[in-house]
């Protein structure tokens, strides 16, 4: 029975679906290839996710404009894996979106997700569906580790590729930076209990021990709690000279604020989860001043070679890209190269053929040549270090200007 209320729900649902670009009912023209894009474009991580989304959409649009794959029209299908209840990415929603991609025969490859927690939910479904996905930012090493193949690669062949390196390098290289460049002798390590944060903090901790940096303690924060003062007081009582936080900005903003209140003068650092405007706006200055954060990619936005691309991005979206907008764009370039190769070899553009072509590809992208190892990880392993330095000439949420590039973290 359709009551007034259920009719209203139905209508609202349809309107929402239309607003978020869910697959419509209208049939598009023949020979359409869809590239799925799954990112948390609402919620706490929306700012970074939208940059990645725009990077991918720009790649697709440019390919269509230049008619790079004659006879085919490319389309981006954006699905949002953030839910209102979670307020950020939601692994259950990510899994649902993965099923939507797999069940749509026109989707031949996908870009995303932003978060490792979402990737862990999506990987098995995509693997069963033989659907290639390239993440611009999910860095958890388990996803491509053959040891966990039963979990994340039940289909048997790698479908999960990355245009960033993993936390197997991001954490340890930052530990090298702590030991060699900053010269710290001891560290207290925190994580935010998330898949990404725990893994990153683990790999950082292991390399600290290898480098002789004394690990004074390790604690796990509840990302929904508000008060970390007790832990900060403990860090102060241990006279720690540095702090490392593995996690995303959700808990990170509070770590920045409360560590500034209790232990303002020690060295502090984090991974790419903290390369976010949330840190400079939510925690603000002076609290955020001096934090070191890494990105699991080379630093590109200040590279003169990509200046033309950056102005194209700016004029298309009226905002500045960050490095992960570029890794997202690079992901699209890899998919395009694979499609071209498959079609040039006279094979049908199927998921299986695209996957094989991506796995064996060597593609010139904005970050340089991208090629993958046998597990799907990118072969370059550059981790860039930034320091938050307040630049009053630019708005607080302008990550490009509030995060100052320091250099490449020492590789092990």
């Amino acid at each position: 029975m359709i009551t007034r209320r259920s009719a209203a729900t139905l209508l609202a649902g349809t309107a929402l679906g239309a607003a978020f670009g869910l697959p419509g009912i209208a049939e598009a023209a023949d020979k359409e290839i869809i590239i799925g894009i799954n990112l948390p474009i609402t919620g706490a991580d929306a700012a970074g996710a939208k940059r990645m989304m725009n990077g991918a959409l720009l790649g697709i649009q440019q390919a269509n404009d230049a008619n790079e794959i004659p006879g085919y029209k490319l389309k981006g299908l954006v699905l949002n894996d953030a839910t209102a209840t979670a307020g950020q990415y939601d692994p259950a929603q990510a899994a649902t979106n993965a099923r939507k991609f797999v069940s749509n025969p026109k989707v031949l490859a996908a870009i995303g997700p932003e978060m490792s927690g979402a990737a862990k939910a999506m990987a098995p479904i995509l693997s069963e569906g033989d659907l290639t996905i390239i993440t611009p930012s999910a860095t958890n090493p388990d996803l491509t580790n053959p040891q966990f193949a039963a979990q994340y690669m039940p289909g048997g062949k790698p479908v999960f590729f990355r245009t960033v390196t993993t936390d197997a390098f991001q954490g340890p290289n930052m530990a090298n930076f702590y030991a060699e460049t900053l010269g710290v002798k001891d560290v207290y390590i925190l994580d935010d209990s998330g898949a990404y944060g725990v893994g990153l903090a683990d790999s950082f901790e292991a390399q600290c021990k290898a480098k002789g940096v004394k690990v004074l303690g390790r604690d796990r924060l509840d990302p929904t709690a508000s008060d970390y003062t007790a832990v900060m007081t403990k860090i102060k009582s241990l006279s720690a000279s540095s702090l490392y936080y593995g996690g995303v900005a959700g808990a990170g903003v509070k770590v920045v604020k409360e560590s500034y209140a209790v232990v303002p003068n020690i060295k502090k650092g984090a991974g790419d989860g903290m390369y976010s405007p949330d840190v400079t706006t939510g925690a603000g200055f002076p609290a955020a001043e001096g934090w070191y954060v890494t990105n699991a990619s080379p630093h590109m936005t200040e590279d003169p070679k990509v200046a033309a691309w950056i102005s194209a991005y700016q004029s298309a979206f009226n905002q500045s890209p960050d490095d992960y907008a570029i890794t997202s764009y690079d992901g699209v370039l890899v998919i395009l190269a694979a499609l071209k190769k498959v079609i040039a070899e006279g094979k049908a553009p199927t998921r299986d053929n695209v996957r094989a072509a991506v796995a064996s590809s060597t593609v010139d992208t904005l970050q340089g040549t991208v090629s993958f190892d046998a597990n799907g990880d990118i072969k370059q392993r550059v981790v860039s270090v930034f320091q938050i330095v307040h630049n009053p000439a630019y708005p607080l949420d302008d990550t490009i200007h509030q995060f100052k590039y320091i250099g490449v973290a020492p590789q092990s």
């Binding site: 209102a84 307020g87 604690d219 509840d222 970390y228 003062t229 939510g282 603000g284």
Partner: protein, 309 residues
């Protein structure tokens, strides 16, 4: 820091946190005392309070952490923000009662409670959609001033929190004990039917309970913002759940019980962070809750339903 200073420091941390939980717990307790309803929308009235306070402070030109105020302007700004926030949240509480709960009055079962959960989500999602999900920087115009006891430190602001919480809680207690409306509230809590027969306006009493509870949640939201210097749409759930636990621990429906429960939970959270590990804080808090409820089902200071049932 010496072990003693460290303990002292964590007690200071815990008391500040506990005062906030206590203010929030009072809202659960007042409404439960009168209606036997657990009002989960209270979680996010607290969250809205922090946003209202942020809005009021921004009217004073306060934004970010760099603008400090001194003397009379500071006191005026804080008092105006506090009063506006409390009144706005109080009215929001009354509105929730009127729109979402009054139509369900008299309906048996958990309908009203489930409705409050729905209202809670409406509030948090509406805030997220209207103001964005990212964390907002809450201005703090209070100059940093610290007092030292050994190596432990108290900030002036922590003292303000304690005094303010004590005043609000004391005021509420006096209101309920001494005023005519307070007497009507206690009468309704004991026996709504008899109170109605004695000429107590039950609707008015219930609205007062919602107003007072929500106003205290607003005050807690304001204090939260000033203390942590941030807010976002999601702060309500964890703080609200802890405060709810505090109310149950102290004896839900019992005003001094809510205060005691709040302070205890704040202290436990701080001590767990220092001596056990922050990740165990929830395990300890909720295990303690289970133990207390086994030993004293009505909570530490509660009595089992005085005249009802």
């Amino acid at each position: 820091m010496s072990p003693f200073d460290l303990l002292l420091q964590q007690i200071i941390n815990g008391l500040s946190l506990g005062s906030m939980y206590a203010l929030l717990a009072l809202g659960f307790t007042i409404v439960y005392g009168i209606m036997e309803l657990i009002n989960f929308s209270h979680f996010n009235v607290f969250m809205i309070g922090s946003f209202v306070a942020m809005g009021v402070l921004s009217l004073f030109g306060l934004q970010g952490q760099s603008i400090l105020m001194h003397g009379a302007p500071l006191v005026v700004a804080l008092i105006v923000a506090l009063v506006v926030t409390m009144v706005a949240c109080g009215l929001l509480g009354v509105l929730i009662e009127r729109v979402a709960l009054r139509p369900l009055r008299g309906v048996q079962g958990p309908m009203a409670m489930i409705t409050t959960i729905g209202v809670s989500y409406v509030l948090s999602n509406a805030t997220m959609l209207a103001l964005g999900a990212n964390t907002k920087n809450f201005p703090n115009p209070i100059p940093p001033m610290t007092f030292h006891i050994g190596t432990a430190q108290i900030t002036a602001f922590q003292i303000v929190i304690w005094v303010l919480s004590a005043l609000l809680m004391g005021g509420l207690y006096m209101f309920v004990q001494r005023s005519k409306l307070g007497k009507a509230m206690r009468a309704t809590a004991q026996d709504p039917d008899a109170a109605l027969m004695m000429g107590v306006e039950v609707n008015r009493v219930i609205m007062t309970a919602f107003f007072l509870g929500s106003a205290l949640a607003g005050a807690a939201g304001f204090i939260f913002g000033l203390y942590y210097n941030f807010t976002n749409f999601g702060i309500g759930f964890t703080a609200g759940l802890r405060a709810f636990t505090a109310a149950v621990l102290g004896g839900i429906g019992n005003i001094p019980g809510a205060m005691l429960g709040g302070i205890l939970i704040g202290l436990i959270e701080a001590m767990a962070g220092q001596y056990v590990g922050a990740k165990w804080a929830d395990v300890i808090i909720f295990s303690l809750l289970v133990l207390v409820l086994i030993a004293r089902p009505a909570g530490l200071l509660g009595r089992l339903a005085p005249t009802k049932s």
